[in-house]
């Protein structure tokens, strides 16, 4: 499989592998995909009281590009505000990693995992129904 150097870099040295306490109120967890489909991503964010993502972790079952896409997503999330994080698009990941067309679904999965993690955090913090507009995350 002719993968780009960036995929190989993230695959060989994945960033932010691990788990956060999924029951903690400041942690949002997204789990997307299905084992039967060959891809499962678990992506977690830890958000400080100001709405800034202070930590992100992932675990992924899947091909090399799925692992690279989740690794890249966690790297990108750290330090961003939650509302900014929601703007991450699969195309950004696919372009950054130069994914071949058959692997685009890996970047889609990463976007879905990020969104699911944000939703989970919002639900825990009573913000599920609010639009992700600026200022909407102030306590």
């Amino acid at each position: 499989m002719p993968y780009s150097d960036k995929v190989m870099d993230h695959f060989t040295n994945p960033r932010n592998v691990g788990s956060l306490d999924k029951n903690a109120p400041d942690v949002g967890t997204g789990i997307v995909g299905a084992p039967e489909c060959g891809d499962v991503m678990k992506l977690q964010i830890k958000v400080d009281p100001d709405g800034r993502i202070v930590d992100a972790k992932f675990k992924t079952f899947g091909c090399g590009s799925a692992i690279a896409a989740s690794s890249l997503a966690t790297e990108w999330l750290k330090g961003r505000r939650v509302e900014q994080a929601g703007e991450l698009k699969n195309a950004d990941i696919a372009n950054e990693l130069s994914l071949p067309p058959v692997k685009i679904h890996c970047s889609v999965l990463a976007e879905d995992a990020v969104k699911a993690a944000i939703e989970d955090w919002k639900r825990k913090n009573g913000r599920a129904t609010e639009p992700p507009a600026a200022g909407a995350d102030k306590p």
Binding site: K59, G64, A66
Partner: protein, 401 residues
Amino acid sequence: MALELPIYLDNNATTPIDPRVLEAMMPYLTAVFGNAASRNHSFGWKAEAAVETAREQVAKLIGAAAKDIVFTSGATESDNLAIKGVAEMYAEKGNHIITCPIEHKAVIDPCKYLEEKGYQVTWLKPDRTGQVSARQVAEAITDKTILVSIMAANNEIGTVNPIAEIGRATRQRGVFFHCDATQAVGKIPIDVEAMSIDLLSASGHKIYGPKGVGCLYVRRHGPRVRLACQMHGGGHERGLRSGTLNVAGIVGFGAAAEICQRELAEEAVRLAALRDRLHQGIVAKLDHVTLNGHPTQRLPGTLNLSFAYVEGESLMMKMKDVAVSSGSACTSASLEPSFVLRGIGVGDELAHGSIRFSLGRFTTAEQIDYAIEQVVRGVTELRQLSPLAESAEGSTGRDAK
């Protein structure tokens, strides 16, 4: 001595040409260039003589008469000629064919093509080891059955079918038996007489011969099998396969068959020992590894394993100096995992995590030990990354379905 990398453990896909085979071929790629069909000069005679020697060498390996061997471009062509050739020739007699859904695509697709043309095809379900029984075959035969096509050994999992029993059942009912023996010939004993095989496909490049050459054994006596040819032209190969013969390729195929004939018994024992060393070495260090295929009735060099919680493509990337195959969808253009593994009831999750190791003549114990190290390291690292391994341990609940 340092181990040379990468290591090739994908011999069911193709094999390197044995140096002895190449040596036998060289004159026919250079000085002896004649057309085997040129009957009026020594250039043609020499080529023809070489082809006939090869025909005897190939025939001997499968216990056939030399005249019953038809050279083709490979096993895919042989399968097509056998299946479509019988179907067309015996259309008056019947329209029913019996085969199995985990055959090679070169058997499945011609059968599907015939289904579209109005033929009836019975797809016998293999058991969990990948075997089809003679009883299943016998029960499926009707008075409209014109052909049974069952492979000798499966390319992905290496399971060997009870070919002699299936042959007895078909012979008893007067139905022709085609056997795609591409993966079996040269690796385990195959005898068209003892196994009552009427048509048999084989290939050069799976037995350390060149690519682009194979054969179809077509029984001429007891019973005589007639085929509608699929390649019309100059009437070569008893009129069954027109086209100027690939002399150098055929010579290579013959030489390769001759070497297999001589070395098969010893080589099968050596390969089975290496295969078991690989299997034992892996399961000694890793849990949740399952064997796909038959535990004993299996090709000596084939080992197909599923590694739970790990996806096959990423495992192959981890062990990039070991060339293997995977049943994972991520390694193919389609999004489906291996239809063979599905066909024997392996769940999709484990099919995605499957690796086929296929050993060959040039595989050494040092290479096996290196492969074990790479597999163990790769699986261990990927399981640390895997949310499935984590939830299986119960440390974190998994919400996803």
